[in-house]
Amino acid sequence: MGKVKTKTGPLARRPDNSAFKQQRLPAWSPMLTANTVLPFFYFMALICMFLGVWLLLTVQSTKEMKLDYTEAGTCDRCFEKRKNVSNAAQPCSCTVVFSIGKKFKGDVFFYYGLRNFHQNLRRYMDSRDDAQMVGRKKNLQTPSTYCFPFTTDQNGQPIAPCGAVANSMFNDSFVLTYHMPGGRPEKVPLLRQGITWYTDKNIKFRNPKTENLTLPEVFKGTAKPLYWQKPVYELDPLDPTNNGFINDDLIIWMREAAFPNFKKLYGVLNRAKEPFTTGLPAGNYSIEISYNFPVQYFRGRKEVVLTTLTWFGGQNHFLPIAYLVTSSLILLVAIVLTVVWWKFGKNGKNMEE
C-alpha cells in the first residue's frame, strides 16, 4: 500500500489488475439452502448417532459405587463430634459397611468426594504459592502475598505450605476391607502413590533442595498450616519419600476442583494379590474412616467413590446421551427441512428460473 510507485507514463496511476486487488480471488461461496444443507444434516445426524451408540456401550461397561459416609454407619458420632471446633484435635474413627453386587473388573479407583465444598472460589484459589511448592527457599521463608492471611502463624513463622488451599486439605483416611463370604476380612490393598499427574509430582511440586539434610531440617523455621495436625514433612508416615511438598495427597488436593461437588483420587486398587488381581470381587466391604474433616460448617457431604474407568473416563452417561439427543435433533430438523423443501420446493426452483 505504501509503496512508492515508480511507474510513469500516461496510465501511471492505473491500478494493478490483480485478482486480489480487484477482489476477484477465486472463491467458494456456499449457499445455505435446503439442497446444500440437507445432505450435511443427514450426514451429521448419522455421525452423531454412531458416536453416541459407541460411547453409550463404552460407558455401560463401567461400574461405580458411591457411598455418602457423612453421617452413615457409625460416623454420625464423629460427625457430631466434629461440629465442635474444640474437638478438632481429638481423633475419631468410624466404620461404614457396604456391598458390591457385581464384580468391578480391571483397575478400580478409590475416590473421596466432597459436596458443597467451593474449592473454586476466586480468593481461595489464589491463596497459594506455587513458587513455594516448587521448592524455592526464598518463598519457603517469605511466602507470596497471595497466601495472605495464611502466610505466617501467630509466632510470625512462615507457613509451609502456605495459603488457604493447603490449609484446608482433606485429612480423612480410609481403610477398605473386603469381607469374603465365609472368610476372614481382607484389607484391600490401595496404591497411594503415582496417582498424581507426572508433571505435578516431578515439576510443579518439589521439595526444597535437601543437600543431605533431612526434610524436617529443610522445613525448619516454618510452621505447619493452621488446621493441620502434622507438619508437611510428616504427611506420609509410611513412605518417607512421599513427604513434604511432593506428597501425593497434597498434590492432588492442590489441584483445585472445578465444581463445588467433586471427587479426588485417594488410591488405586493394587491388583498384585489375590483375590484382587482381576478387580474388586462382588461381596461385602467395610471402610474404616479416620474422620477428621469437618463439613457441617458449609453444609457439605463427604463420600467415597469406587469406580472403574474406560478410555473415555468414568461412568458418565451424559456425553453418549448428548450425542444421541443431538443426533435425533439434527434428524428432526433435517426431516422438517426436507418436508418443507418438498412442499415448497417448487418455489425455490422457480425462483432460480
Binding site: R255, A258, F312
Partner: protein, 1481 residues
C-alpha cells in the same frame, strides 16, 4: 477598497517604525524589510527575524513529544479511558482478577497499534514536508550579488525571489517587477481556489515605471502589511520608500504560495509571508472526521453492552452477597479473608465483587472493535482505490477516498443531490448551432463530426487527420511532459499539506485547463454561413478598398460579421501559444495601425483601464478618441437600423483608411492556418472558449488580447485591432457581459453584449414597427426567440449576442458617470453595476448560439440504475429551467411518461398555494386510486409497497410513496418553499415525486435543500458536484462526492470521495457501498456476538463458584482471545467477504435497498445475536460441565476445553456467516486455530510458577491425550450452531432476502443468469416503483402480469385539465384584482404558472414543438395587439396514437408587455434586476 484603512494604517506605520522592535509581535501589522540590508550571518538586527521562515512542518509530533502527545490524543476516545481504568482497577488488590501486568496488555496493545499508525502517518508527512522544503528557488544573495539557488526552507521573509515561468511560488511574495511589458504577472491559482483561468497580478505601483531591471541592492523601502491571515482575497499594506512616499498594496500585488507563474518569463518579488504564515498554509485544514450511520448505530449497541455488563456484574454481586449470607457467622473453611485480613461482610464483599466482575467481564465491551473497524475501513479504502473500474484512463485519475471512516455510508444512501453542469455533463462546451439575424444555421456537418467522435472515442487521437494536427500534437505532448514533471513532484505528496495538494491538483489541472481534444476545438463550419461570412468580408474588403461607406452593406451580412466579431472579442479569453506552454502571445500589432497623435501614443502605453488607477488615462483616452474621431472616417456603415446611428454616421467626416490595418492582398492562406494552429485560448469558462473556437472556424480568430486592445483576424480583411475601451465583466445578477470597443472599420464606439437570452431579449431595443426595417427587426427577434426555445428544448445552453452603437455624445455622457462610479469610494461595486445597466439597453440583436454541454458517458444508465436502487435523485442546478429540464430528460432523470409538476411562484403566498394544490393533487390522484377502485388493477404495481412497508425509516402516518411524478422548481420559488412555514409542505410534495429538479438555485439554496432533506426526513444524503458552487452542498451532506473535472478542485477538496466521472458513482455505491456496508455491519454484529458469547461462559460459571468472580478460562486466554485468537478471520471476512458478486450488484441495483433499510444491521439483530450468543455459550458451558460433572477434573483442565470449544464455535459461526471463501479465509481460520494451540501449548509448558495465581501447567498437553476432549470438540459446536445453521438454511430456502436471491443468481451459469436478469428487468423496470417488486423474483406473480404492468398505470389525463384550469383562473383573478395591468408591470406579473406538462419523450421532436410554438407565438402576438386579457391554451391533438398531448398554457397578461418580447411557453418568471432608470440621454 482599502482606502479608509489606508490612512489609519499610515499613521500606524509611522508609529511602528519608531517602536518596531518590541511591538512587532503585538501589533496588528507586520513590517518587512529587505534582508539584504542586513548581514545574513548575524540576524540580531534583522527586524524580520521574528517571522516564520519558509520551512514547513506539518507533522504533529517530534521524537520527544510523540509519546505524551499521542497518548493524550488517544485518551480523547472514551473507550480507551475506560479500558485503562479497568486495567488500573486490576492493580487494586481487593478487586483484582488478573495478574495486573497482564491486564494492561490489551490496552497497551490497542494503544500501540494506534500509535504506530499515527507514527507512520506522521512519518509520511515528515517525508513530504522534507520534499517540499527542499524544492529549489532563486533567492538574491547579498554576498554574491546575484540570484542563487536555494531550498524553499531557506527562504525567509524579506528575501528577494526571482520567479520564472511555470515555477511554483515558495511563499507569499509581493510582486516588485515583472518581465511583462504591462508590468503584469499571470498566475494560475487553481491550486488555491480551483479556478483554472489565469489571474493577473500587478507590480507594486511604485515600481511600475522602472524601465530598467530591478536591482535588489537599490531597494530600501519598508513594507507594512497586515498580520498573516487566511483570507485569500484580502491583502492590505503600504510600502514606504526612503523618500517618505507611501504606496498602497492590494491583493493584486501579492503572489500566493502554491500558485504557478504562467505567461510571464520572469518576475521578482519580496517575501512577505513564509512557511506556515502563508495564506495557502493557513487555509489548509485536515480532512474532516465524520461518523457513519453504522457507527452511530453501533455506539448505541455498545451502550447496550455496557448495560448488559452492569446487569451481569450486579447480578453476580448480589449473588455473591447472598451466597456469603447463607453461611451466616460461621465462615466455611474455604472462605478466605480479605487481603487486609479482616472479615468481609456480605455487603462489602458484594461491592468488591462488583468491581472484580467488571474486570472479568470487560471483554464484553469489545476493546478491539474500534481498532478492527479502523483496520477494515483502511482495507476497504484500499480496495476502492484499487478498483480498475473506477479508474479513468483519460485523466489518469482514480477514485480518491478523502474521508477514511465513512465507507459504509456509501451503502446506505437514500437521496442523491447532484449538480448538473460538470457532474452530469462533461462541462466541455461544444458549439452546436447558431442563429444570426433570424436565420438558423444548423451545423449539421459539425453534428455529424461530433457523432463520429463519440463513436470512436477511444481512438480519437490516432484518427485525427486535420490540417492542424501536427502543431496540435506538439502542444499536447509538450503539455504532457510538463504534466509528468509536475506529477513527479506531486504524486508522493500528502494530501494534508497544502502545497502538496496544490501540486497534485496542478498536475490534474494541467491536463484540463485548455481544450485538449480536437472535438471541442474544431468546428466544421456550416457551409451556408461560411459562404455568407466570406461574401460579407469580401464585400467589406471591396468596400474598404473602394472607400465606400460600410453602411451599404446589407444588414444581414453586417449582422453576420458583427456576430462573429462579438463572439471573438466579447470575452476575457487570453491567447497563448502552445509551443511555449501558457506563454502569452505578446505581439503587438500597433505597427500596422500607425500612431496618429501623441495622445494616441500615450494612450497605447497606458496600462489597462481595468486597473484601479485608470481615471486619468481613461479621460485622456477619451480626449484622444475625440480628436482622432475627427479625422476618422467610417467606411463601414453601421449595419443596424437604428436611426440615431445612421445620423451619427452621416456626421462623421469621411474616410480615414489607415485607422485599421491594411491587409496584404495576397495574404497567404497557408501561413494563416499555421499561425492559427499555434494559438491556444485560455478562457475563464469553457463556453467562452467554445465560442472563440467557433468563430475561429469561420476564420474570425482572436489573435491577441492586451488590456487595451483586442486583435482579431478576419478573412480578407486581415488583422484588425479593436481598441478596448471598457470591459463590463460578467456577473450573475446581470447575467451578461459587455465590451465597449472602438470599431476600427467604422470608428464607432460599439458595445458588444453577450448574455443569457432571458436578459438580453428584454434589453433589445423595441423595433420601430413603422418602417420595413423595424418590421424586419421584429421578425428577427421573434425568430431568434423561436430558435432559442428550440435550443433550450434540445438541452443546449443558449447565449444571445447583441450590439449597440453609441454616439459620441451618448458615450461621453455614459463615460462621465461611469468614471464617477469607478472613482467612487463607497459602494463602487453598486455604482459600477448601475453604470453597466445604463449602458446595456436598447441593444440590437445579432443572433444567438447554442452550446452543447455533453452528457457524460453513461449518465442515463447510471441514473436509471441508481434509481432502481431506491435512491431518490435530485438535481440542483444553477441553469435555467428549460435547459435543466431537457438535460433531465436526456439523462433519464425525468421520464417521458411521467407527469411533471412545475412550481413557479413569485410570492410567498403563491408558493404556499401551489404547494397546497400539488399536495392535494398528489393525494387525490395516487392515494385514493391506489386505495379503492384501482386497487385491483395495480396490485402488481403496488405490491412492492406492501412488501416494504417500512422502507423509509421515518415513515410517518401518511404513507409517502414515490410516484411517477417529477417536480421542477425554480430558484425563486425554492427560496419561498425553503421558508420555515412552507418547508414541510415542500418536503411532502418533493418526497412523493420520483425526481426533483431545482433550477436556478444558488449554492446556498443547494446546501439548504440538502440540509432540509437530511434533517427533516432523517435520511442519508449524498451530494455530488464538481464546482465551487457545490462545495457547501457537499459539506452539508452525509457523504460528499466531488467530481475531479473541469472546474478545478474545490469540490474535490471539500469532498469525502472524489470521482473522475459521474458514472463511477454507480459502482461506488452499488458495489463498494453495498460491500462495505454489509461487511462492516456483519463484522460489528459478529463482534458483539463473539464477546457476549465468550463472556457469558464465565457468567454461567459464577453459579458454580459462589459468584466469587473466578474464571475457568485462564487469564491469558481471556485477554488474548479477542486480541489474537479470534481476531484475524473476522478481519479477513470483514475486508474480503462479498455477499453478492459485483456483476450481479450492478445488474440488480435493487439489492442496494437492503443497505438503505439497514437490513444487515437492525436493532433487533443485535438482540438476536445476543440471544444466540447466550444460547451458544450455554451449550459451550453445559456440555463440558455435564461431561465432567462428578469427576475429579480441576478448574483449568475443565476450562481449557471450554476455551477451545468457544473458539471453534466462534470460528464456525463466522464460517456460517461468511459468504465467500477465498484461500485467505481458510488461511486465517487455520491460522487462528494453530495460533491458539501453539500459544496454549507453549504457555502451558513454559513455566510452572510464573503465571500465578492461575497455573495451567501441562494442561493442554494432557487434554490432547484425552479422548473426551475430542468428543466434546465434535458435539459442542454442532449443537451450539445448529439453530443458526437451521435458521439460515430455512431462510435461504423459504424466505430468502433479496441479497440471498442475488447470491443464488451468482451461482447460476452465466446464460441462465442473463435470462433471469433480463426478465427481472422487465418487472423491476416498471417505472412506477423505486422500490422494485423484487420479491416477485422469489414468488413470481401469475404469468402474464409482467406484461400488463407497464400498461396498467393510470392515465393522469383525466383530472389534469380541471386542476390546471382552476389554477389559472384563480391566479388570473387574483392578479387582476390586486394590481393594475400596466405595461411596466407585465414582466413582474408573469404568471406563476402551475403547469402539468406531460411531455413527449426526451427528444422533444422539433416538428411538433415548433408547430406548437408557432401557435403560441401567434396567440401572444395577437393578444398583444388586441390587448384583451384572455387565457390561452394550446392543445395539440394527440399524435402517434398516444393519449398524451403537449399542452402549454399561458396567461394573457404575458402578451401585454411594453416590449414585444416573446415569451416562450416554457419560460417562467425569472428574477431579473429591475432596470430602474433606463435613461440614456
Amino acid at each position: 477598497m482599502a482606502r479608509d484603512g489606508e490612512d489609519a494604517g499610515m499613521v500606524k506605520a509611522a508609529k511602528v517604525k519608531r517602536q518596531r522592535k518590541k511591538k512587532t509581535k503585538e501589533n496588528k501589522t507586520r513590517t518587512v524589510h529587505a534582508n539584504i540590508l542586513y548581514d545574513n550571518a548575524k540576524g540580531e538586527e534583522n527586524p524580520n527575524r521574528h517571522y516564520a521562515n519558509n520551512k514547513i512542518k506539518t507533522t504533529k509530533y517530534t521524537l520527544l513529544s510523540f509519546l505524551p502527545k499521542n497518548l493524550f490524543e488517544q485518551f480523547h476516545r472514551f473507550a480507551n479511558v475506560y479500558f485503562v481504568f479497568i486495567a488500573l482497577l486490576n492493580f487494586v488488590p481487593v478487586v483484582n482478577a488478573f495478574q495486573p501486568e497482564l491486564a494492561l496488555a490489551p490496552v497497551v496493545f490497542i494503544l500501540s497499534v494506534t500509535a504506530i499508525k499515527d507514527l507512520w502517518e506522521d512519518y509520511r508527512r515528515h517525508r513530504s514536508d522534507k520534499e517540499i522544503n527542499h524544492m529549489d528557488c532563486l533567492v538574491y544573495s547579498r554576498v554574491e550579488r546575484r540570484y542563487v539557488e536555494k531550498y524553499w526552507k531557506e527562504v525567509r521573509v524579506g528575501d528577494f525571489i526571482r520567479l520564472r515561468c511555470n515555477e511554483i511560488l515558495p511563499a507569499d511574495v509581493l510582486l516588485l517587477t515583472s518581465s511583462d511589458p504591462d508590468r503584469l504577472c499571470h498566475i494560475e491559482t487553481a491550486t488555491l481556489d480551483g479556478e483554472t483561468n489565469l489571474k493577473q497580478r500587478q507590480v507594486v505601483r511604485s515600481f511600475f515605471d522602472l524601465d530598467c531591471d530591478f536591482d535588489p541592492t537599490k531597494y530600501n523601502s519598508i513594507i507594512e502589511c497586515e498580520k498573516p491571515n487566511n483570507d485569500l482575497n484580502r491583502f492590505r499594506g503600504y510600502i514606504i520608500h526612503r523618500s517618505g512616499r507611501r504606496d498602497a498594496l492590494y491583493k493584486e500585488n501579492l503572489l500566493l504560495r502554491g500558485c504557478t507563474i504562467r505567461n510571464t518569463e520572469e518576475a521578482v518579488g519580496i517575501v512577505i509571508y513564509a512557511g506556515h504564515e502563508t495564506k495557502a498554509m493557513l487555509n489548509n485544514n485536515g480532512p474532516r472526521y465524520k461518523r457513519s450511520k453504522l457507527e452511530r448505530q453501533m455506539n448505541v449497541d455498545v451502550f447496550w453492552c455496557v448495560i448488559i455488563l452492569l446487569v451481569m456484574c450486579l447480578f453476580a454481586a448480589v449473588g455473591h452477597g447472598l451466597w456469603m449470607f447463607q453461611y451466616g457467622d460461621k465462615r466455611p473453611v474455604f472462605d478466605v479473608l480479605s487481603p487486609e485480613g479482616t472479615d468481609l461482610s456480605p455487603i462489602m464483599s458484594a461491592i468488591y465483587l462488583f468491581l472484580t466482575m467488571i474486570i472479568v467481564f470487560q471483554v464484553l465491551i469489545p476493546i478491539s472493535l474500534f481498532v478492527s473497524i479502523e483496520i477494515v475501513k483502511i482495507c476497504q479504502v484500499f480496495f476502492i482505490h484499487q478498483d480498475m473500474d473506477l479508474y479513468d484512463e483519460e485523466t489518469d485519475s482514480h477514485l480518491q477516498c478523502r474521508a477514511l471512516n465513512i465507507t459504509e455510508d456509501l451503502g446506505q444512501m437514500q437521496y442523491i443531490f447532484s449538480d448538473k453542469t460538470g457532474t452530469l455533463t462533461e462541462n466541455k462546451m461544444v458549439f452546436r448551432r447558431c442563429t444570426v439575424a433570424g436565420v438558423e444555421y444548423s451545423h449539421d456537418a459539425n453534428a455529424r463530426r461530433l457523432a463520429m467522435y463519440q463513436e470512436m472515442d477511444s481512438e480519437e487521437e490516432e484518427c485525427t487527420s486535420h490540417g492542424g494536427t501536427l502543431p496540435r500534437r506538439d502542444s499536447v505532448t509538450s503539455h504532457q511532459s510538463a504534466r509528468v514533471v509536475l506529477r513527479s513532484q506531486s504524486t508522493k505528496s500528502h494530501r494534508r499539506t497544502g502545497s502538496r495538494a496544490e501540486a497534485k491538483r496542478a498536475s490534474i489541472l494541467s491536463k484540463h485547463t485548455a481544450f485538449s481534444s480536437p472535438m471541442e476545438k474544431d468546428i466544421t463550419p456550416d457551409p451556408q454561413l461560411l459562404d455568407k461570412v466570406n461574401e460579407c468580408s469580401s464585400q467589406m474588403d471591396f468596400m474598404r478598398f473602394h472607400s465606400q461607406p460600410m453602411s451599404q452593406l446589407p444588414s444581414d451580412l453586417s449582422d453576420i460579421i458583427d456576430f462573429f466579431i462579438a463572439l471573438t472579442i466579447c470575452n476575457t479569453v487570453v491567447v497563448s501559444s502552445p509551443n511555449q506552454p501558457r506563454q502569452k502571445v505578446r505581439m503587438r500589432f500597433e505597427l500596422k495601425s500607425p500612431v496618429k497623435t501623441i495622445e494616441d501614443f500615450i494612450k497605447r502605453f497606458t496600462p489597462s483601464r481595468l486597473t484601479s488607477g485608470s481615471n486619468s488615462s481613461s479621460s485622456s483616452s477619451l480626449i484622444t478618441n475625440r480628436s482622432s474621431n475627427r479625422g476618422c472616417s467610417s467606411i463601414l456603415s453601421s449595419p443596424s437600423a437604428e436611426s440615431t446611428l445612421t445620423k451619427l454616421d452621416e456626421e462623421k467626416p469621411p474616410n480615414l483608411e489607415h485607422t485599421f490595418s491594411p491587409v496584404p492582398p495576397c495574404y497567404s492562406e497557408k501561413a494563416w492556418a499555421v499561425a492559427e494552429g499555434e494559438l491556444r485560448y485560455e478562457a475563464e469558462s469553457p463556453d467562452e472558449a467554445a465560442l472563440v473556437y467557433a468563430a475561429r472556424a469561420y476564420k474570425c480568430s482572436l489573435v491577441g488580447r492586451l488590456p487595451d486592445q483586442v486583435t482579431v483576424e478576419l478573412p480578407h480583411l486581415g488583422k484588425l485591432s479593436f481598441e478596448l475601451l471598457h470591459t463590463l465583466g460578467f456577473d450573475s445578477t446581470r447575467k451578461r457581459m459587455s465590451v465597449v470597443v472602438r470599431h476600427p472599420l467604422t470608428d464607432q464606439i460599439t458595445v458588444y453584449t453577450k448574455g443569457a437570452d432571458s436578459v438580453i431579449m428584454d434589453l433589445i431595443k423595441p423595433p420601430n414597427t413603422g418602417n420595413s426595417k423595424g418590421k424586419r427587426q421584429k421578425k428577427i427577434v421573434y425568430r431568434t426567440q423561436n430558435y432559442l426555445n428550440l435550443y433550450a428544448a434540445d438541452g443546449l445552453r443558449t447565449l444571445c449576442i447583441a450590439k449597440k452603437v453609441l454616439t459620441k455624445e451618448e458615450y461621453a455622457c455614459w463615460l462621465q458617470r461611469h468614471l464617477e462610479a469607478e472613482t467612487a469610494i463607497q459602494g463602487r461595486e453598486e455604482l459600477l453595476f448601475e453604470s453597466a445597466l445604463r449602458l446595456e439597453t436598447n441593444l440590437h440583436l445579432l443572433g444567438a448560439t447554442g452550446i452543447e454541454d455533453r452528457l457524460q458517458d453513461g449518465v442515463p444508465e447510471t441514473i436509471a440504475s441508481l434509481r432502481k436502487a431506491g435512491l431518490q435523485i435530485w438535481v440542483l442546478t444553477g441553469d435555467k429551467q428549460e435547459t435543466a429540464v431537457n438535460i433531465a430528460y436526456a439523462c433519464k432523470l425525468l421520464e417521458p411518461e411521467e407527469e411533471i409538476l412545475t412550481l413557479n411562484a413569485d410570492s410567498q403566498e403563491a408558493c404556499a398555494l401551489l404547494l397546497e394544490e400539488s399536495l392535494h393533487y398528489i393525494q387525490a390522484k395516487f392515494l385514493c386510486s391506489s386505495a379503492d377502485h384501482a386497487a385491483k388493477a395495480f396490485t402488481a404495481n403496488f405490491a412492492p409497497f406492501e412488501i416494504y412497508p417500512s422502507s423509509s425509516p421515518s415513515s410517518s402516518s401518511v404513507p409517502f410513496m414515490v410516484h411517477r411524478l417529477g417536480l421542477v422548481i425554480d430558484g425563486r420559488t425554492l427560496a419561498y418553499a425553503l421558508d420555515k412555514s412552507l418547508e414541510d409542505k415542500f418536503l411532502a410534495v418533493a418526497r412523493s415525486c420520483r425526481s426533483v429538479l431545482c433550477c436556478r438555485s444558488t449554492p446556498l439554496q443547494k446546501s439548504m435543500v440538502v440540509k432540509l432533506v437530511r434533517n427533516k426526513l432523517k435520511v442519508m444524503t449524498l451530494a455530488i458536484g464538481d464546482g465551487a458552487n457545490d462545495v457547501s452542498m457537499i459539506q452539508v451532506a452525509d457523504v460528499g462526492v466531488g467530481i475531479s473535472g473541469q472546474e478545478g478542485m474545490q469540490a474535490v477538496m471539500a469532498s469525502d470521495f472524489a470521482l473522475p466521472r459521474f458514472r463511477y458513482l454507480q459502482k461506488l455505491l452499488l458495489v463498494h457501498g453495498h460491500w462495505c456496508y454489509s461487511r462492516l455491519a456483519n463484522m460489528i454484529l459478529y463482534f458483539f456476538y463473539k464477546n457476549a458469547m465468550f463472556v457469558a461462559l464465565i457468567f454461567w460459571y459464577q453459579f458454580y463458584c459462589g459468584f466469587s468472580g473466578s474464571a475457568m478460562i485462564d487469564q491469558w486466554y481471556l485477554i488474548f482471545f479477542n486480541l489474537m485468537f479470534s481476531a484475524f478471520p473476522q478481519l479477513i471476512t470483514g475486508t474480503l467477504d462479498k455477499d453478492v458478486s459485483a456483476e450481479t450488484l450492478q445488474q440488480l441495483p435493487q439489492l442496494y435497498i437492503s443497505g438503505q433499510n439497514s437490513e444487515e444491521y437492525k436493532p433487533y439483530m443485535f438482540w438476536m445475536n445476543m440471544i444466540d450468543a447466550f444460547y451458544q455459550s450455554l451449550v459451550c458451558f453445559f456440555i463440558p460441565y455435564f461431561a465432567y460433572a462428578d469427576s475429579d477434573v480441576d478448574l483449568f483442565t475443565w476450562g481449557t476445553p471450554i476455551t477451545t470449544l468457544a473458539l471453534f464455535t466462534i470460528l464456525l459461526h463466522l464460517g456460517i456467516e461468511t459468504k465467500t471463501w477465498t484461500w485467505m479465509n481458510w488461511l486465517s481460520i487455520s491460522f487462528s486455530i494453530a495460533l491458539f494451540f501453539t500459544v496454549a501449548l507453549c504457555y502451558n509448558a513454559s513455566c510452572p510458577t510464573c503465571y500465578s495465581p492461575s497455573n495451567p501447567y501441562w494442561t493442554m498437553q494432557r487434554l490432547l491425550q484425552d479422548p473426551l476432549f475430542y468428543f466434546l470438540c465434535v458435539i459442542t459446536p454442532v449443537t451450539a450452531l445448529l439453530p443458526r445453521y437451521f435458521y439460515r438454511a430455512c431462510q435461504g430456502t423459504l424466505f430468502p432476502s433479496p441479497v440471498q436471491v442475488g447470491r443464488q443468481l451468482d451461482k447460476l451459469p452465466a446464460e441462465t443468469r442473463r435470462n433471469i436478469l433480463s426478465l427481472s428487468r422487465v418487472k423491476v423496470g416498471s417505472p412506477l416503483s423505486t422500490k422494485p417488486p423484487f420479491l416477485s423474483l422469489a414468488k413470481p406473480l401469475p404469468k402474464g402480469s409482467n406484461k400488463t404492468e407497464k400498461g396498467s398505470f393510470p392515465s393522469p389525463k383525466a383530472s389534469q385539465g380541471s386542476i390546471l384550469q382552476t389554477h389559472d383562473t384563480r391566479k388570473c383573478h387574483k392578479r387582476s384584482q390586486s394590481e393594475p395591468l400596466g405595461p411596466k408591470h407585465s414582466e413582474k406579473s408573469l404568471s406563476d404558472l402551475y403547469t402539468l406538462m406531460s411531455t413527449e419523450g426526451d427528444t422533444l421532436p422539433y416538428t411538433k414543438d415548433s408547430q406548437c410554438l408557432d401557435k403560441t407565438l401567434d396567440v401572444s402576438v395577437s393578444s398583444w395587439i388586441t390587448s384583451t386579457p384572455q387565457t390561452d391554451s394550446v392543445e395539440l391533438p394527440p399524435d402517434r396514437g398516444s393519449s398524451q398531448c403537449v399542452r402549454y398554457t399561458r396567461n394573457s397578461e404575458e402578451g401585454l408587455g411594453s416590449e414585444p418580447s416573446v415569451h416562450q411557453p416554457g419560460r417562467r418568471t425569472e428574477q431579473r434586476p429591475e432596470p430602474a432608470s433606463l435613461t440614456t440621454s
